[in-house]
């Protein structure tokens, strides 16, 4: 019964009309331009206005992109959770495209976090990696979304595979609050500068740099989700056209 519902909903055309398509195209270009501008302004503030930190030195400036990247990973994972729940409830390709694009963005942002964090730690701690609760849970979360992306890449694109991936997308989100509260619950080496008990950023330009970083990475995450979701919908449309072409008895090339 559910399979029939999926088939019916899947049969709906995934391409928007020409008018909505051009409006969406303009919206995407405007969003991409705003993202690029926000990233450039953030880089300028971090490089030229935010002061060097007293004990760690210039390597502390990794923080202005490391923390927003971690936040953007949460955003990607949340989008994956919503898309996956939507796919399980409705079964449409649009929800599936949202879930997949969210997982891909979570992986990219997670890679940024897992690369920039150890580089900072090499200077601040003297070691690149420790099995600190936040580091461990963050890596676990990235691995969950890597598993999601690999599952989608190397298995078929049938309803069963999409449902399995959607279940992973829903369950994978359970780790996000654990990452956030791991520092408070289990201690560890990871700094908690801006969370409860932290000393905060001591200079207004440090705060400005971080706020701009959050803004830039929010826009970047939305842009990347949009870009990847659009591509997924195009892949779905291509699959429909290939099916039609097969029924008409043409190769298409």
């Amino acid at each position: 019964m559910q399979g029939q519902a999926v088939q019916t909903l899947d049969a709906k055309p995934v391409t928007p009309s020409a008018a909505t398509g051009s409006a969406a195209g303009f919206g995407f270009i405007a969003l991409a331009a705003a993202t690029a501008l926000a990233l450039v302004v953030t880089l300028y503030v971090v490089a030229f206005r935010a002061p060097v930190e007293a004990t760690m030195g210039i390597v502390q400036k990794i923080f202005y992109f490391h923390v927003p990247a971690a936040y953007a990973m949460y955003l990607g994972a949340a989008v994956c959770f919503v898309g996956s729940a939507g796919y399980l409830a409705r079964g449409t390709r649009r929800w599936d495209a949202v879930a997949k694009s969210g997982a891909e963005v979570a992986v990219v942002m997670g890679m940024m976090v897992l690369i920039s964090g150890p580089l900072w730690a090499m200077k601040a701690w003297g070691v690149a990696w420790t099995w600190d609760p936040r580091l461990t849970t963050s890596m676990l979360s990235v691995l969950i979304y890597v598993a999601y992306v690999l599952l989608r890449a190397f298995t078929g694109d049938g309803d069963a595979e999409r449902k399995f991936a959607a279940a992973l997308g829903v369950l994978g989100a359970a780790n996000l609050p654990i990452i956030h509260y791991s520092v408070q619950k289990w201690g560890g080496n990871h700094p908690k500068v801006i969370s409860n008990g932290g000393g905060g950023l001591q200079h207004p330009d440090m705060k400005l740099g971080l706020m701009l970083g959050f803004l830039a990475f929010t826009l970047l995450a939305i842009t990347l989700v949009w870009l990847r979701a659009k591509m997924e919908l195009s892949v779905s449309k291509l699959a429909e056209l290939e099916q039609e072409a097969l029924e008409e008895g043409i190769g298409g090339d």
Binding site: E104, S116, L220, L224, K230, S234, L241, G249, G252
Partner: protein, 93 residues
């Protein structure tokens, strides 16, 4: 007494035997810098932008390839449907 005198005469810190070597490493605040903060910062920023640029380039290239395939399939389908609709009309003539 003789042994005490002998101990005082020992030179300090000039010739150490193998047993006198330190057997533990003690950390010190503000010691000699081993990692260049500037280099780590540059590597980190390069890696971050590489991740973003790679995803954007791969996405745009794949999108362009899909769009080309969609347009070729659409034109092939419309040609095939046009031929099918013309064939019965010619049959009636």
């Amino acid at each position: 007494m003789k042994s005490l005198f002998f101990m005082q005469a020992q030179p300090t810190g000039t010739s150490q035997s193998a047993d006198d070597r330190s057997q533990a490493f003690k950390p010190v605040q503000g010691g000699t810098e081993l990692q260049s903060g500037e280099r780590l910062l540059v590597i980190s920023y390069m890696a971050i932008w590489l991740c973003v640029v790679a995803l954007v380039i791969v996405s745009f290239r794949k999108q362009a390839r899909i769009d080309r395939r969609i347009s070729s399939l659409e034109s092939a389908l419309s040609r095939a449907r046009g031929e099918k609709s013309e064939a019965p009309a010619r049959g009636k003539d």
